[in-house]
Amino acid sequence: MDYNEKFEMALEKVQKAPRYTGGEMNTTVKAWDEARLHFGFCFPDTYEVGMSHLGMKILYGLINRESWSLCERFFMPWTDMMDIMKAEGIPLLSMESRRPLRDFDVIGFTLQYEMSYSNILAMIEMGGVPIDSCERGENDPIVVAGGPCAFNPEPLADFIDAFMIGDGEDVMTELNRVILSRRENGWTRGKCLRELAKLEGVYVPSLYDVTYEADGRVRSVTPNCPEASPTVRKRVVVDLNTTYYPEEIPVPYTEVVFDRIMLEIMRGCTRGCRFCQAGMLYRPVRERSLEKLTDLAEKLQEATGYEEISLSSLSSGDYTCLPELIRTLMKNMKDKRVSISLPSLRIDSVLKESLEETQQVRKTSLTFAPEAGTQRMRDVINKGVTEEDLLEKVRDAFHGGWNSVKLYFMDGLPTETEADLDGIADLARKVVSEYFAVPKDRRARGLRVTVSVSIFVPKPFTPFQWAPQDTIETVFAKTGHLKKVLNIKGVTFNWHEPYLSFMEACFARGDRRMGKVLRRAYEKGCILDGWSETFRFDTWMEAFKECDLDPAFYANRERALDEVLPWDHIDSGISKSFLLREWEKSRRAETTKDCRKGCNGCGLQKWKGVCGYANAGGT
């Protein structure tokens, strides 16, 4: 029996077989032999998560658009499928032509979340490719990765041959061209990797040597060949109007997490929240034009038949012509019965009118993210939201017929005290009062306020990259306190177990040695760690012990300001001195203004023509 037949058999036994069968509308199945370069795009999580991811759809379209390259998708199978595949010797197969991963010239992972790393090892191994880069031979594919987590590539340095840092649109094709040359010119693997290292924004970890201090801190990361540059600067797509954006995207048969058109209206954010890694990594802010967006919306709607369009960005409320964009989209889409989901923070009076006209507003719950409970704490994290702002919007919403509000907070933020935790409860109580302040006959019945508190994870390239994470014990104590103070009528409190956030913190700021822990944990059976039913914290702790490493060294230790950080050789465009300045200001609860109100000198100002808000003379 060949693996295809075995795979068919497996499909009859597993839950959710459609996540493995492909054949969706707008997927591309090219003739294998007609393409000169075969790219296996791997999303290291389940189909439902992966098919909700915009970046994959962009790169899938971009690679398939070129006549010489083809791109097929791979997802992480669930445990039931994986068990059968392993028992039956079925390799990881692509969604399109059901080819094993090992048949592809390039395997590309997108790194969205640290806790998907074990899935990467599982997918590589199930695909019939050696897990360790150094074990791969001349006939093995080149394994690459990109995405936000690639900015600290070190924990994956043993397994990924080359990382793409920053925006993927341009570097993707450049990288594929080099790998095509490997095949067509008979380059050795080593030669190919050195050529890749010459590309701007490409980091080849095997071309760098890492040394450590006696206490385990990184002493140096230095190139070991001339092709590798001492620092690797991220790629930036300067003009979103001219860069590639797909005009048709795959439409899954089954419901996935985000089952709608995602229209990326801008990239980057000017707000400068100090905990937010995306806010730093995706700088500078770049907007797509109204014309481009309305045109894309039209084409995507025709190609997919979707009933809903959501505007995607880090802070859609900041898009310059948001009201005009929404009005235009609503007008164009009305006859097509397409609803536009709005960033909830901007349901201001102007919009309210057009909303009521078109009756397109569904009174689902409104979401706000004050992130912290007191003004002091919000100043520390530079979250430019005041209590008055929030309560005013909540008031509007309750008057407008909403009855459900979700509030998102973090605990464990630097300098946090019990007063800040109590502030969360105070804010929740004030929201409840706003509801009861609306006359009974004019408010929607059944108030629901959901307070979700997640655990702060310090991330590289943020002003908090030096900060310790709360220990697991402290988090439990704080959660216990929150449970007490949030025992308020009408309020539901959602909290998180700290174990996963602790592991996330270890990987987020991990060095190359974390790769050993990852490998050990994977060998011991850790996979699908992002899912509570499969996450095995104890096994991870055993893996640390067996590798003779201390997780607290990564998660709970405050970094010295002069310490070499494991990701210092990656240049995000944001200068370390800016991050340091921000870290110091946060200590004094001093805020920094939105870049749109004037350049704060984050470092991008030195990079000519990249940031539209940069002031060349900025500090």
């Binding site: 499909l11 069968t21 054949g23 048969y253 089954t254 025709e302 997919t304 979707y306």
Partner: protein
């Protein structure tokens, strides 16, 4: 006016459930640009019905949808535009324009033709050979599974015709809201007749849906 269209649910997508098939057809209609009619109200949806849900895991050669159009559309145009808008595994085979008063197909289904392809050729042959023995019995008890309970039913009167050929069992089985014989029930009965135990893998293909014509004779639903 309405369009009755015959479409396929291909083997590759046989594990897709009925609700997902419905949604996929609706999105296909939206992609096609055909002037479909929408329901009124806050959350408008396309006016469409499906003659009969097809189980998860089964393919369908000639499934039937009944779409209400807001404007006149020819059957040819419907087929051409839908086939550009639908994935290869869900192509529209043919269509027929009917007026708004044409009876709903939903209540007219009486039976369906099935092809049960037994994956193991040798077991398939044994099952096919066991057909006469099974049909010779006075009653053919089978278990019907519902969400809450198992009930025993006699499927003999529900098997309208049956024949074997190599590893295929071709059968016409009653399919109404009141009573029906599922392919899996038939398989279990055949296994018993052939003395075969354990799991038998089969591919179920619903070949066509049948209704009764004016004289009470079974005929393909889409022709009625």
């Amino acid at each position: 006016m309405r369009i009755l269209a015959v479409f396929e649910k291909g083997e590759r997508i046989r594990h897709i459930g009925h609700l997902d098939i419905q949604r996929s057809v609706q999105r296909g209609l939206r992609r096609s640009g055909l002037p479909v009619a929408y329901s009124q109200g806050f959350n408008p949806h396309i006016l469409i019905t499906f003659a009969q849900a097809l189980s998860t895991g089964a393919c369908g050669k000639r499934e039937i949808m009944d779409v209400t159009m807001a404007e006149e559309v020819s059957a040819e145009e419907f087929v051409a535009r839908m086939n550009r808008a639908m994935p290869p595994e869900m192509q529209v085979r043919e269509a027929r324009a009917v007026d708004a008063k044409h009876p709903s197909l939903m209540g007219m289904v009486r039976a369906a033709d099935y092809d049960l392809t037994i994956r193991d050729a040798e077991i398939g042959a044994r099952l096919a050979e066991a057909i006469p023995a099974m049909m010779a019995k006075e009653t053919i008890p089978a278990l019907r599974k519902t969400k809450t309970k198992l009930t025993e039913v006699d499927i003999k009167p529900l098997i309208l015709s049956i024949r074997g050929e190599a590893n295929h069992v071709f059968a016409t089985l009653v399919l109404t809201e009141r009573e029906s014989c599922k392919p899996q029930m038939l398989l279990e009965a055949l296994k018993q007749a052939a003395g075969i135990e354990g799991e038998v893998r089969m591919l179920v293909t619903r070949e066509r849906l049948l209704g009764e014509d004016a004289s009470g004779v079974l005929a393909p639903l889409e022709t009625l």
